[in-house]
């Protein structure tokens, strides 16, 4: 299943002078513990080859969502978000993919791999990430997963991470743009028994330790964290690259392994495992639009009058 690191790493590097650093080792076979066993981080570390110049393997969680430009709709039967149309990569995940590619590049080698959970064997969003430079992915697609809550999603993605043999670092966005529950990265960390730093707005690796500026209500915290670890990154943490034509062509042939929930040993899933049910959907009271005027150069006066009426000025 794993291809040699050399093939992938060359594709994702921007700096071709680094190429000679690659090709020294292939990921060792890693031991994958079953879910529910005592959390233990050591199995993640088995192919680390020291702090200097070791390969850095990163797994990015990629969500494929309905086009955010199109108006969202609920399925009348299930009251869940309709996901039967074409799906695209969640913009929020582009930052994680870019961050992963940059960290691997800075480490001098390694692989960026993907995990995703989506209906209907959807891979178009994953292909975007592969075109940016990721090497391969695991897609969990299974009708049984419909209605799954965030906790089940986290268990599924954690199991997919294990299926890939783990990584030094797992990156997710802080929340998806369609469901925005916002708990999956931290839940994955707990399932995997790993430390985590959420809301990372700046990330670097120093001697095998993550240095993260973590967003807070009033500013940010400087946080250090050993790897393996899970981080969630804010939008804007890096500038995502545009996939090159070569990258897009190469992505068509990169492997995506599709599995079912049962292949990963996660039960129960879907509504059965959700711990919640949709009990009603209602329209909120709509806010009415007021007066709309075209600026003729004097519209500022309208605002002054409006503020006067409200006694704000």
């Amino acid at each position: 299943m794993f291809r040699a690191v050399t093939d992938e790493a060359k594709e994702l590097t921007i700096n071709s002078s680094r190429k000679e650093l690659y090709g020294t080792s292939e990921p060792a076979t890693r031991v994958t513990p079953r879910l529910g066993e005592e959390p233990c981080a050591s199995w993640f570390m088995s192919d680390r080859v020291g702090n200097n110049g070791h390969l850095m393997n990163v797994i990015v969680c990629v969500k494929q969502i309905p086009d955010p430009a199109a108006p969202g709709a609920l399925d009348a039967g299930t009251n869940t978000l309709k996901r039967d149309g074409k799906l695209v990569i969640d913009d929020s995940d582009m930052y994680g993919v870019e961050m992963a590619l940059q960290l691997v590049d800075a480490a001098g080698g390694g692989e960026v791999n993907l995990v995703s959970m989506a209906p209907n064997s959807e891979t178009s969003g994953m292909r975007t990430a592969l075109a940016m430079g990721a090497a391969k992915g695991v897609l969990v697609s299974d009708p049984a997963l419909q209605g799954s809550d965030a906790l089940t999603t986290a268990k599924i993605l954690a199991a997919a991470v294990q299926k890939l043999g783990g990584a030094d670092l797992i990156i997710a966005a802080t929340e998806s743009s369609d469901g925005y529950t916002g708990t999956v990265p931290e839940q994955m960390a707990e399932v995997l028994g790993l430390p985590s730093v959420t809301f990372a707005k700046k990330v670097s690796v120093d001697s095998g330790t993550l240095k993260v500026d973590r967003q807070t209500e009033s500013g940010y915290d400087e946080v250090s964290c050993p790897m393996p670890a899970v981080i969630s990154v804010t939008a804007g943490v890096v500038e995502p690259r545009y996939p090159s034509f070569k990258g897009i062509m190469a992505a068509k042939n990169k492997p995506i392994e599709e599995v079912k929930a049962s292949d990963l040993g996660v039960t129960p899933v879907g509504w059965e495992g959700a711990g919640q049910k949709i009990s009603g959907v209602a329209q909120a009271e709509a806010r009415q639009a007021g007066e709309i005027i075209e600026d003729d150069g004097e519209a500022f006066g309208k605002i002054v009058g409006f503020l006067e009426n409200l006694k704000v000025i």
């Binding site: 965030a150 906790l151 999956v184 707990e190 430390p195 009033s218 915290d221 007066e291 075209e294 150069g297």
Partner: protein, 320 residues
């Protein structure tokens, strides 16, 4: 099922409970007479206020240099294992609330329902209300199975109101051994200085968006906010672009504001943004694109160029 025992994830800032904490305590005591505040840091200094808003008991956890979420979740689990089992834990929809409820949900194998604006106990089910599609649609979700139910609430969902209760009794809870999960440590804390009223408390908010064109035009927004004794805010787009710090962001992933007047300058009105400001009493929008969604909720909409309208407005207000 009856909610006999409710916990509220409590937080303090500048020596006082946060407004989100007081909002949740107020709601919690309308659902149960047995309300516990569970907080990181020293509970003794704010036990009186927590009691005044309905907490009868406080658990406090000194999490040291650990990130709060993983440490407080482990402490919660140890108290639950020790026999004090809540039926519902209410979290604020913010960084630490999200982290804590996420860790705890795995430890307890319980679902989480986030982004709520209300909760009710009908006797045969506990149901939360979540706005979706920018707040156009309200989804009711009912917990199934046994508690503890874990729910997070958006800021300003409930109006805080003191009940006149006495100081709550404080019990210190130790952080259990976190093993590998406790690897992340806070090395330094940075506070971004702000002047003027706080964004989420200001009576007037002036926000800027990508329509400003470039970062040095944001000063127009700051000037107008200052004249109106308000706070400057921003759309996610210009925060992501690095024009202003995250603490300025209004919206789904930023601050929720409900000022008397909200002025949106060069903001088109993405769902992300509207969720954070559509509760404002009066909304003024200035945008070049007359099709911009923001005009759908504005009380006064000016179709025009912010670079022309704002300087004239600022000049007119200055000369008064």
């Amino acid at each position: 099922m009856a909610l006999n025992n409710i916990w509220v994830f409590a937080q303090a800032a500048n020596g006082a409970p946060t407004s989100a904490t007081l909002e949740l305590l107020t709601k919690a005591r309308s659902l149960s007479s047995n309300v516990t505040a569970f907080m990181g840091g020293d509970g003794n200094s704010i036990a009186a206020t927590l009691g005044e808003y309905g907490a009868t008991k406080v658990y406090s956890v000194d999490h040291g240099s650990n990130l709060p979420g993983v440490a407080i979740a482990s402490a919660m689990k140890s108290v639950i294992d020790g026999g004090d089992k809540p039926d519902l834990i209410m979290f604020p929809q913010n960084y630490e609330g999200r982290d804590t409820m996420s860790r705890l949900s795995v430890k307890l194998n319980k679902t989480v329902i986030t982004n709520n604006i209300d909760i009710a106990d009908s006797g045969d089910g506990v149901t939360t209300v979540t706005p979706i599609f920018g707040g156009n649609t309200l989804v009711s979700t009912t917990f199934t199975g046994e508690g503890p139910f874990l729910a997070a609430f958006r800021p300003k969902s409930f109006a805080p109101e003191a009940s006149g209760g006495g100081a709550a009794a404080v019990t210190a809870v130790q952080v259990p051994d976190l093993g590998a999960t406790g690897g992340a440590k806070v090395l330094a804390v940075h506070v971004e200085e702000t002047t003027g009223p706080k964004l989420d408390e200001a009576d007037v908010v002036v926000s800027g968006g990508r329509g400003l064109g470039e970062s040095d035009k944001y000063v127009l927004v700051e000037d107008l906010a200052k004249i109106l004794k308000g706070a400057p805010g921003a759309s996610r787009a210009i925060v992501d672009a690095g024009w202003v710090p995250y603490s300025y962001q209004v919206g789904q992933t930023g601050k929720v504001v409900k000022p008397s007047v909200y002025i949106a300058a060069g903001i088109s009105g993405a769902t992300q943004h509207m969720v954070g400001m559509k509760g404002s009493k009066n909304i003024i929008a200035i945008n070049k694109d007359k099709e911009a969604p923001i005009f759908g909720i504005a009380d006064l909409g000016i179709v025009g160029d912010v670079h022309k309208v704002l300087p004239k407005l600022i000049e007119a207000l200055k000369s008064r």
